[in-house]
């Protein structure tokens, strides 16, 4: 199971006098089980890129391969692709429409043509995975709180049992607690279920402690594609494109400038704490 993005370019409004080159010659390989953070400033093309991955947008040039098959082929089953590559849009709670939470989550598996029993089983599992308890199952989705609505919406995609889960800014507009809960839940899905996860965000801070690999996008191009530590070491370049490394990176850099021989590649608060303590215990 892998997704290969091969020389993909995307142009919007090609027939107007202001065409927008949303993507420019993107090459990317997504391997099974990875947790990837796709980072970029607003308008850098990250949302456009992820919509290519499940065939919602057709590449103007280049091709996307899912398990070695070109997804733009005429006989390629798009519906199947969308069940394998689950995409959770920004503010997914805006897509809820059913009379109760449970039927809304059933919508996805039902569209796959599964039996009623299988559909309900999957919906139940998905709701449990996102931590929605039984008492909410038959309430109107519109009566829930913002964080709960978002979980339900994520469950709606999870119920299709995708192999790859793409989340476009899943934490936008949530409070710190809600944000941590969602991210921890996603991390759990990746480690326990072996789902490949792509997390789209504009905040390094959010993704630093969860992802194995960071892809930084800028103006439709891939700027960096490496491990978090490696990417954060370019914090000056990141600032130039209106991104920032996590605060921890800055603290470590300042420590080093002040003459403490710390390892600047600590990315999480915990790592930084241990690193600083190590220096002082010497």
């Amino acid at each position: 199971m892998s997704i290969i993005v091969n020389h993909v370019s995307c142009v919007f409004g090609g027939d107007t006098n202001m065409p927008v080159n949303a993507l420019k010659d993107i090459n990317l390989v997504i391997n099974e089980g990875e947790f990837i953070g796709l980072i970029g400033h607003t308008g850098s093309g990250k949302s456009t890129l992820v919509q290519h991955l499940n065939g919602l947008i057709k590449a103007t040039e280049g091709a996307v391969y899912f398990n070695g098959e070109d997804i733009s082929d005429k006989d390629f089953d798009k519906k199947k692709l969308r069940s394998k590559v689950g995409l959770v849009f920004q503010y997914p709670e805006h897509q809820l429409f059913e009379i109760d939470v449970f039927s809304d989550v059933c919508f996805g598996p039902k569209n796959l043509g599964l039996s009623k029993k299988e559909t309900e089983l999957r919906a139940y599992k998905a709701l449990k995975q996102v931590g929605i308890s039984d008492e909410y199952f038959y309430q109107s989705p519109f009566a829930l709180s913002g964080g709960q609505k978002r979980r339900v919406a994520i469950a709606g995609v999870l119920a299709m049992e995708p192999e790859v889960l793409i989340l476009d800014e899943p934490t936008a507009g949530l409070d710190p607690k809600g944000r941590d809960e969602i991210l921890t839940m996603i991390k759990k899905l990746q480690t326990e279920m072996g789902i490949t996860v792509i997390l789209v965000s504009h905040s390094m801070e959010d993704v630093a402690q969860y992802v194995d690999r960071i892809v930084v996008m800028n103006q439709g191009e891939i700027m960096y594609d490496a491990e978090p530590k490696e990417v954060f070491s370019h914090y000056k370049e990141l600032e130039a494109v209106e991104l920032a490394a996590p605060a921890v990176t800055y603290i470590m850099e300042k420590c080093r400038e002040a003459g403490f021989p710390v390892n600047v590649k600590a990315t999480t608060v915990l790592e930084a704490k241990n690193e600083i303590l190590r220096i002082f215990h010497k």
Binding site: Q51, H94, K110, F142
Partner: protein, 271 residues
């Protein structure tokens, strides 16, 4: 998909037509519409065609772009033409089974297609070259005399400008929700008519909810800025006629005169 509809959309470029005062464009569109319905003969339509072609040329809006948005309207046009073709009484021309095409029907069908086609292209040219804000500014100014009769001109103009402003937003929203539901396996394209109608529910419910949410937010934002209607409100960019606008009025008058005179003096009929 949905964003292909260009009716009511603005096309950003710089042309003489874009720089004109919205009032002349509104009046001009009105005059053009009237000119299409004065006479039913080829001479008048030929003139209307030439005029439209020249104005499109001046507007610098690519013709392809204009036509792309009219596909849905073309369907309406086709239905109208078919009805006229078969349901007009008169001298029979061809007869297939129970359907008869008459001479008058054919003439009517051709004329109605020309009239409606030109009318739609002509009016979409106005919206393509005028921003919604300019348009409502122009309307407000034109309708200002109606205030004497207690017509809430400013409020009507404001409502229109909000409605127009929301068209692209709701289109974008529709596109987004459609994609989100497609990502959940929804199918909007295939199936019978009833299936298609049913498939709309997951799209319409979130869309209506979002429209209400946006309306609510906007009302709040307007109140927070102390909006209280048109009374004592001044404009940042008051409308002012320039030389080009007076010239445009002249051209419109000439065109109308031309249509009336030529249509009257040299009427060419289809059959």
């Amino acid at each position: 998909m949905l964003r292909d509809i260009t009716l009511g959309q603005y096309y950003q470029t710089d042309s003489a037509l874009h720089r004109m005062d919205p009032r002349i464009k509104l009046a001009g569109t009105m005059v053009y519409m009237i000119s299409l319905f004065i006479y039913k003969n080829i001479t008048a339509y030929l003139l209307a065609f030439l005029f439209l072609a020249v104005v499109i040329r001046i507007s610098r809006v690519p013709f392809r772009f204009m036509i792309k948005g009219l596909k849905a309207v073309m369907f309406l046009l086709l239905i109208t033409a078919v009805f006229n073709l078969f349901l007009t009484r008169g001298e029979p021309l061809v007869s297939i089974w129970k359907l008869t095409i008459t001479k008058e029907g054919l003439v009517n069908a051709v004329y109605i297609v020309i009239r409606l086609g030109f009318l739609i292209i002509g009016s979409s040219l106005m919206t393509l070259t005028t921003t919604p804000n300019q348009l409502t500014d122009g309307l407000e100014k034109i309708m200002a005399p109606l205030k004497i009769f207690k017509v809430p001109v400013h409020e009507v103009a404001m409502m229109m400008s909000i409605a127009l402003r929301f068209i692209p937003i709701l289109m974008e929203e529709t596109d987004k929700i459609m994609k989100a539901q497609m990502a959940r396996g929804a199918d909007f394209e295939s199936g019978r008519l009833l299936d298609k109608a049913k498939a709309m529910v997951p799209l319409l419910v979130p869309l209506i909810i979002s429209a209400f949410r946006r309306a609510n937010d906007l009302a709040m934002a307007m109140e927070a800025r102390c909006y209280q209607g048109g009374e004592g409100r001044t404009k940042m960019k008051p409308l002012q006629y320039k030389r080009i606008d007076y010239m445009a009025y002249g051209v419109m008058a000439l065109y109308l005169l031309g249509v009336i005179l030529l249509g009257r003096l040299f009427p060419l009929h289809l059959i």
